[in-house]
Amino acid sequence: MRGRFHLARGGGFALDVDFTAPATGLTGVFGPSGSGKTTLLRCVAGLERAPGGLLEVGGEVWQDEARGRFLPAHRRRVGYVFQEAGLFAHLSVRRNLEYGWRRTAAAERRVRFDEAVDWLGLGALLPRGPAALSGGERQRVAVARALLASPRLLLMDEPLAALDAAAREEILPYLERLHASLSIPVLYVSHAAAELLRLADHLLLLSAGRLRAAGSVAEVSTRLDLLPWAPEAELGVVVEARVAGHDDGFDLTYLDFAGGRLSLPRHAAAPGSRQRVRVLARDVSLALERPERTSVLNVFPARITEIGEIGDGSGTGGAAAGAGGGRQPLVKLDAGGATLLAQITRKSLVTLELRPGQPVYAVVKGVALLL
């Protein structure tokens, strides 16, 4: 998927983005409000027309203004989940779900009606009217309705932003399951970093209408020059891991990631399942030799790749707030291919004479499963 949009708006805002996104997986579009995330999504959907725009999805050209090509939204085969569910108030849940499904030729349908109803747990809601649903239920109907039109690309514009925390927690597992079972690419707009760390495989970082960075979540979220990439995101990394097994004797769960085997307090995750693990920078300390006789279970050999600083300079709070006001060194590590961040004091940096390329041991004091 490739796109290029330039769109000037009133009030000095202009979207000027040239991006590519992988053909599978969930690509998070992140940025502060007013950075152009929604406008970008609307351009992709064809709800907004950027003069001179270009958009190619899965080898199909949807828009190429240089050649006079612009497919209107209803011919683009996108699914769009809006911030407000936008259910048709005059139709029952079932008729809402059928709306796009009926307009999709039988040969093009890739999702069975019952399948979508199952995935999003809507069986009991079918005869109801939208007014009788909770916010979370409405949004689940909206997601199923979009999927039933068998889109080639699913666009989600802050689908959780209008929900309260409880409804958000209710719907996230559905989204995670979808993410695992969907074969189509998803563009997911959010200004909540935690949501994207949980769901996204790739990130597009927008600010002031421009693309600041693009790449895998691990890559973008640990780029020292971008930190803090999200003011409210705690400094850290997300690591992909596989559940290796449980230890009944010690009540532990073991997870394998690129850098070795993690031990966590016992968790219900099924052995063999893929999980995301969050490792915060302040929970990682460094040692030059493998610490012996320590209570910390998670110690991994690593190599320093970069040393940066994080501090209160930008004044955006969040990551800097825990640093007590001063600037603190942030060390980026490569542990067998996985990236870790360690937040240390300048005193340690100097006394240990840390420098890029140096082998160290990452001592991980806290790990959290993201599920």
Binding site: A45, G46, L47, P72, A73, H74, R75, R76, R77, V78, G79, Y80, F82, E84, G86, F88, A89, H90, Y99, G100, R103, T104, A131, A132, A142, R145, A146, A149, L155
Partner: protein, 245 residues
């Protein structure tokens, strides 16, 4: 009621019955366009549509008479087609009524379309519905209250028309003499009993029609509310539910 009064009554109902569908046919696309457009023509056209609200009907009737008469441009075109110019005829009444009642149809429809908002139509577009499809399956059903108001008020307003009808229709029994004109005639001839019968009938019918519109609107509005606002508040803390008695 004398047979002389049944004739204008029947003519009036026929006029309103023909005018109302025409009003909806003309008013719906116009209201839709007005509710969606960013064009600079929007304001002048809104003002033109609203003119009958403020103009004396005789002004509108006078210009229609000139336009539709044998020497007017429309009347001449009519004649070129081998037809009689539409003045002093039923078709003239229909044309006059459509123009005169247009704001009463366009304004509720435009308001209803505006309150449908952009979101449901954009959702429908991403669910593969083309422009006409979305209009018919989303905009119209969601604006149904507006259609109901527009049709009822358009119908009732046409029933009560006087000035325009008199100017371009004259007062030809069986052809252009509608109830309002018949009432005027009765009063002129001091036939107050007949005038009363027709007037009271008009009054009651108009009141019933308007009452029905307001009652249906109110019921619809109650139904459209989220359940926690329609009944006793279930979640008093969530705001909006609890109201002071």
């Amino acid at each position: 009621m004398s047979s002389g009064d049944l004739e204008p009554l029947w003519l009036t109902l026929r006029l309103a019955g023909v005018t109302t569908p025409l009003l909806l046919a003309v008013g719906t696309p116009l209201a839709w366009w007005l509710s969606r457009t960013a064009s600079r023509l929007r304001s002048p056209i809104e003002a033109m549509v609203a003119l009958p609200l403020v103009l004396p009907p005789t002004v509108l009737g006078f210009y229609l008479l000139l336009l539709l008469g044998p020497h007017g441009s429309v009347g001449a075109a009519w004649r070129a087609l081998g037809l009689d110019p539409p003045v002093f005829s039923f078709s003239g009444l229909v044309i006059g009524s459509v123009l005169y009642s247009l704001p009463f149809v366009v304004q509720p429809l435009q308001g209803a379309f505006e309150s449908v908002g952009r979101l449901p139509l954009e959702v429908a577009a991403t669910l593969r519905a083309g422009p006409l499809d979305r209009f018919a399956t989303v905009a119209v059903p969601l604006a149904r209250r507006g259609f109901l108001s527009a049709a009822t008020i358009g119908f009732a307003h046409t029933l009560g028309e006087f000035g325009v009808v008199l100017m371009i229709g004259g007062n030809i029994p069986g052809r252009t003499r509608v109830v309002s004109i018949a009432i005027y005639d009765h009063v002129e001839r001091l036939e107050y009993a007949q005038a009363h019968r027709l007037s009271l009938g008009m009054l009651l019918f108009s009141f019933a029609a308007l009452w029905a519109v307001y009652a249906l609107n109110r019921r619809d509005a109650l139904q459209a509310r989220p359940p926690w606002q329609a009944g006793p508040p279930r979640r008093p803390a969530s705001g909006g539910g609890a109201r002071e008695p």
